[in-house]
C-alpha cells in the first residue's frame, strides 16, 4: 500500500519555542490513523504543516504524493479538514458555511449533505453567532464529510460533541473507512481512537514516541493478572517482566510484560490454578506509560 502521508524528521519552531522536534508519521492509504498526544505535543502544528499553512523548518513531508507547501491548492481539492477550534463567520448560517466550504473545495455530494445534516441534527438556518461549540464543530464536520475527497484531516473533531453525536461521528468514520478513504484523526480521547483506528502514532513534545497497529502497541505493554492458586507460588519474583507483584497466601496479583506471559503462566500452572483473570492493557495505560517512561528517560539523560 502507498502512503497517503509520509513525514520524516519534521521540525518547526515558533521563535524559541520548539513545536516539532524531528517528528515521523506515516499514514497508509485507506487506513484510519490515530494521532495521539497530550495538549501542546504538536498535533495541530503537524496538521497545519500538512495543510501548507505553516512552513516546516526541516525534515520532509509528503501528502497524497505531493508537497504540502508548494502544491497546497491542488492537494486541498483532494482533502477535507476539520479544525479543532472551529470559527465561523457570525452572520452566516450553518447551511451557508457548509455550501461555501464545499464549493471552494470543488463541490459537495447533495445527498450526503442532506443526510448528514439530519444525522447530526443540525439546524442549518441558524446564524453561526448563535451556535454552540458543538454545533460549530458539526458544521465543519458535515462540510468535510459531504465532500468527495480522498483524505480527511480531523483535528480533535469530537471535542465539543455530546456522546450521542460522538456515536454518529464514529459511524460516519466507519463508513468512510469502508469507502476506502484515508483518515488522520488527531485526538486525546483514547476510547475513540481504540474504537476507530487501524494504526496509531503517539507523539510527545514534538517527537514520535510510538507508532504501529493497536495490536503491535499492546505487545509492548503489560497484562494485569490476578489468580487464585492451589498453594503459594514459587519463584515468581525471579521471573523477568513481572511487576507490582503482590502475593497474599495463595492469591497473586501482578502485571506482566505481554511478551513474557508464557514463562509466567508456566510458573502459575506449576502451583495449580483455581481461578484466573487477565485484563488486556488499555490504550490509556499505554498512553500513560509512554509518558511516564519518557519522563524517566529524560531524567536519565539529564542526570
Amino acid at each position: 500500500m502507498t502512503a497517503a502521508i509520509e513525514i520524516v524528521g519534521l521540525r518547526k519552531a515558533y521563535g524559541r519555542t520548539i513545536a516539532l522536534d524531528g517528528l515521523d508519521l506515516t499514514v497508509a492509504s485507506g487506513e484510519v490513523h490515530g494521532f495521539l498526544g497530550p495538549n501542546g505535543a504538536g498535533k495541530t502544528t503537524t496538521i497545519r504543516i500538512l495543510l501548507g499553512l505553516l512552513r516546516a523548518d526541516g525534515g520532509s513531508a509528503r501528502m497524497l504524493g505531493g508537497d504540502p507547501w508548494s502544491q497546497a491548492t491542488e492537494l486541498h481539492r483532494r482533502l477535507a479538514y476539520v479544525p479543532g477550534d472551529v470559527s465561523l463567520w457570525p452572520s452566516f448560517t450553518g447551511g451557508q458555511v457548509i455550501d461555501l466550504l464545499g464549493r471552494l473545495r470543488g463541490g459537495l455530494d447533495e445527498g450526503r449533505r442532506a443526510s448528514l445534516i439530519q444525522r447530526f441534527e443540525l439546524d442549518p438556518t441558524k446564524r453561526a453567532s448563535a451556535y454552540s461549540k458543538g454545533n460549530r464543530q458539526k458544521v465543519a464536520l458535515i462540510a468535510a464529510l459531504a465532500s468527495d475527497v480522498e483524505l480527511l484531516l480531523l483535528d480533535e473533531p469530537t471535542a465539543g460533541l455530546d456522546p450521542l453525536m460522538e456515536a454518529v461521528f464514529r459511524s460516519c468514520i466507519e463508513e468512510e473507512r469502508k469507502r476506502g478513504r484515508t483518515v488522520l484523526l488527531s485526538s486525546h480521547i483514547l476510547s475513540e481512537v481504540e474504537a476507530l483506528c487501524d494504526r496509531v502514532t503517539i507523539i510527545r513534545a514534538g517527537k514520535t514516541v510510538e507508532s504501529g497497529s493497536l495490536a503491535d502497541l499492546r505487545h509492548l505493554t503489560r497484562t494485569s493478572i490476578s489468580a487464585e492458586l492451589d498453594g503459594p507460588p514459587q519463584g515468581l519474583d525471579q521471573l523477568p517482566g513481572v511487576y507490582d507483584l503482590d502475593v497474599e497466601g495463595d492469591r497473586v496479583r501482578c502485571e506482566v510484560d505481554s511478551d513474557k506471559l508464557t514463562p509466567f503462566l508456566k510458573a502459575l500452572a506449576a502451583a495449580g490454578v483455581r481461578s484466573l483473570t487477565s485484563q488486556p492493557p488499555t490504550l490509556e495505560e499505554l498512553f500513560l506509560r509512554q509518558y511516564t517512561s519518557s519522563d524517566n528517560e529524560h531524567a536519565g539523560v539529564s542526570s
Partner: protein
C-alpha cells in the same frame, strides 16, 4: 450577594485591557481641540477678522447643519462651535464601543461566562462597561477643558465645553447599555447604538439649519444638539448639561432592568433564522470577500456621497467668508492656491476627504488580518483556495471601493456645489491614488509583518494625517511633507495636474501590494 458584586475587580481588569486604547483616544481629543484653537488663532489674527468670519459662518446653512449655531465671535466661541458637534459624535462612538466591548462582545465570545462563574453579580458586566465609559468621558471632558484653558481660553467656557461633550458621551453610554441587552450579537448591538447616534446627529442638523419658523426644536431632542446648545463661551447655559446626565441615568437604569429580565447570551430581539443554503454568488473567494465587505462598503459610499453634498453646498457661500487676503492665503496653504476662492476652498476640503477615503482603504485591507487571526482564513485556505486568490479578493474590493468612494465624493461635491461638474468629479477621482498607497502599505504590512499590521497601518495613517493637518506650519521642513502620499495628491479643482506624481503614486501602491502578496505566499498563516 448583590447583583453588582465583582464590579470593582472587573472594572480594574477592563481599564487594564483598554489602557492603550484609552490613551490613544484621549490624545485624539486633546490634539483636535488644540489644533482647532491654534488654527483659528493663526488664521484670524485680529478680532475684526474673526468677527467677519463668525458673521459669515453663522449664517451659512451648510455650516449650521454641520456644526450648529455659532454663539458669539470670540476665539472660544468659534473654536467651541467647530469642535462641539464633531467631538460629541466621536466621544459617543467611543462610549458605544467601550460599553459593547465589555458587555455584549464579552458575552458573545464567552469571556463573560468565565468571569460569570466567579462570584460576580448579574449586573456586574453592565456596570463595568458603563463605569469604564463614564470614567473615560469624564477624563475626556477634563482634558478638553484643561487644553482649552492652557491655550488661554476663559475658564468657565472651557469647562462647559468639556462637560457638554462628556455629557453627550454619557448619554450614548446609556444608549449602548440598552442596545447591548436587545441583540445577541455585539455587531448588531453596536449597529443599533450607532443608528441612534446618526438619528441624533440628523435631528440636530435639521433643527440647526432650519429657519426661525422651522422645526428648530428638533435640536433639543438630540444629545448631540445639547453639546452645542449649552453655549460654551457664548453666555453659558449650564443647566443644559442636566439633560444629558438625566438621559444617561434613565437609560442605564433601563439597561439594568432589561439585563435582569433576559437569559445569559440571549437578546430581547428575536434571532431570525437565515437561509439554509448559500446563494450561487457565495461560491468563490471573491464572492465570500464581497459578502463580508459589501455592507461596510455601502455605508462608506453613502457617507462619501453625503459628505460630498455637504461640503459642496457649504462652498456656495464661501466667497464672502474668504474676503480677507490673510484668510484666503491660509486656506490656500491647504489647497492649490490657484483658481477662484471657491475652488481654493474646495481643493482644501477635498484634500481632507482623501484622508477619510484612505481610512476606508486601510480598514478594508485589514479585514484580511482579522479574518486570519480570528481563525476564519484557515478553513478557506484548507480548500482549493490559494493564499493569493483569498487575499487578492479582499484587496480588489478595497481598491475598487477606494476608487468608487473617490468618485462619489467628487460627484456629491459637484451636485452640492451646483457648478464645476466635470472638474469636481475629476477632483474626487484624483484623491484615489494617495489613498491607494495607504491601501498598498496595509497589504505590505499584512504580508510581511502580520502581527504588526493593524497597529502599523493606523500609525502610518495617523502620521500622514498629522502631516496633512500641520502641513502649512511645516513649510520649512519640506522633506517631512514629502513622506506623506497626500502631499503628492493633485490639488483639484483649480490646480494644474502633472501626470508624474499620480503615476508614481499608483506605481508605489502597486509595488507595495505586490510586496505584501509575495510576503504572504512565504509566511506562516495564523
Amino acid at each position: 450577594m448583590s447583583t453588582l458584586t465583582g464590579t470593582g475587580a472587573l472594572t480594574r481588569l477592563a481599564v487594564r485591557r483598554d489602557r492603550i486604547m484609552l490613551a490613544v483616544w484621549l490624545y485624539v481629543f486633546a490634539a483636535f481641540i488644540a489644533a482647532t484653537v491654534v488654527g483659528f488663532r493663526g488664521l484670524y489674527k485680529t478680532q475684526a477678522s474673526l468677527a467677519s468670519f463668525a458673521a459669515g459662518a453663522g449664517h451659512n446653512s451648510a455650516f449650521l447643519s454641520l456644526y450648529g449655531p455659532l454663539y458669539g465671535d470670540s476665539l472660544g466661541s468659534v473654536s467651541a462651535w467647530r469642535v462641539s458637534a464633531v467631538l460629541s459624535v466621536v466621544g459617543s462612538l467611543f462610549s458605544i464601543f467601550v460599553v459593547i466591548r465589555h458587555t455584549r462582545a464579552d458575552e458573545e465570545s464567552g469571556r463573560l461566562e468565565l468571569t460569570g462563574s466567579e462570584p460576580v453579580g448579574r449586573h456586574a458586566a453592565l456596570a463595568t462597561g458603563v463605569l469604564v465609559a463614564a470614567i473615560a468621558n469624564l477624563v475626556i471632558g477634563a482634558v478638553l477643558a484643561v487644553v482649552a484653558l492652557a491655550l488661554g481660553l476663559p475658564a468657565g467656557g472651557s469647562f462647559l465645553l468639556g462637560a457638554g461633550i462628556a455629557c453627550c458621551g454619557l448619554a450614548f453610554t446609556g444608549v449602548a447599555a440598552v442596545t447591548a441587552q436587545l441583540s445577541a450579537s455585539a455587531r448588531a448591538a453596536r449597529g443599533l447604538a450607532i443608528g441612534a447616534l446618526v438619528v441624533a446627529f440628523a435631528l440636530r442638523a435639521v433643527g440647526d439649519a432650519s429657519s426661525a419658523s422651522g422645526p428648530r426644536l428638533l435640536s433639543w431632542l438630540s444629545p448631540v444638539g445639547w453639546a452645542v446648545l449649552d453655549r460654551a463661551f457664548g453666555g453659558g447655559r449650564w443647566w443644559v448639561l442636566a439633560l444629558g446626565i438625566l438621559l444617561a441615568a434613565a437609560l442605564v437604569i433601563a439597561g439594568g432592568v432589561l439585563a435582569g429580565r433576559r437569559d445569559y447570551d440571549a437578546g430581547l430581539l428575536p434571532q431570525r433564522p437565515g437561509p439554509a443554503r448559500a446563494s450561487a454568488s457565495l461560491s468563490s473567494p471573491l464572492g465570500l470577500a464581497w459578502r463580508l465587505q459589501s455592507g461596510t462598503l455601502y455605508a462608506w459610499l453613502a457617507g462619501a456621497l453625503i459628505y460630498g453634498l455637504l461640503i459642496g453646498s457649504s462652498a456656495r457661500g464661501i466667497g464672502g467668508l474668504l474676503k480677507s487676503a490673510s484668510t484666503r492665503k491660509a486656506v490656500s496653504d491647504y489647497g492649490s492656491g490657484q483658481g477662484g476662492l471657491s475652488e481654493i476652498y474646495l481643493a482644501a476640503i477635498l484634500g481632507f476627504t482623501g484622508l477619510v477615503i484612505a481610512a476606508y482603504a486601510v480598514s478594508a485591507v485589514l479585514r484580511l488580518r482579522s479574518e486570519e487571526s480570528g481563525g476564519l482564513a484557515e478553513p478557506v485556505l484548507a480548500t482549493g483556495t490559494g493564499r493569493l486568490a483569498w487575499a487578492s479578493a479582499h484587496v480588489l474590493i478595497a481598491a475598487a471601493g477606494t476608487a468608487a468612494m473617490s468618485l462619489l465624493a467628487g460627484l456629491g461635491t459637484a451636485v452640492g456645489y451646483g457648478a464645476l461638474f466635470g472638474p469636481l468629479v475629476w477632483a474626487g477621482l484624483a484623491l484615489a491614488p494617495a489613498a491607494l498607497v495607504l491601501c498598498g502599505l496595509a497589504v505590505a504590512l499584512f504580508g510581511l509583518v502580520p502581527s504588526r499590521s493593524v497597529a502599523g497601518s493606523w500609525t502610518l495613517f495617523g502620521l500622514f494625517a498629522l502631516i496633512l493637518f500641520l502641513g502649512p506650519l511645516l513649510r520649512a521642513s519640506h522633506w517631512l511633507l514629502d513622506v506623506s502620499p497626500f502631499t503628492h495628491s493633485p490639488k483639484l479643482p483649480g490646480g494644474t495636474v502633472s501626470a508624474l506624481p499620480v503615476v508614481l503614486l499608483c506605481l508605489i501602491a502597486l509595488a507595495l501590494t505586490g510586496a505584501g502578496l509575495a510576503g504572504l505566499r512565504r509566511r506562516d498563516i495564523g
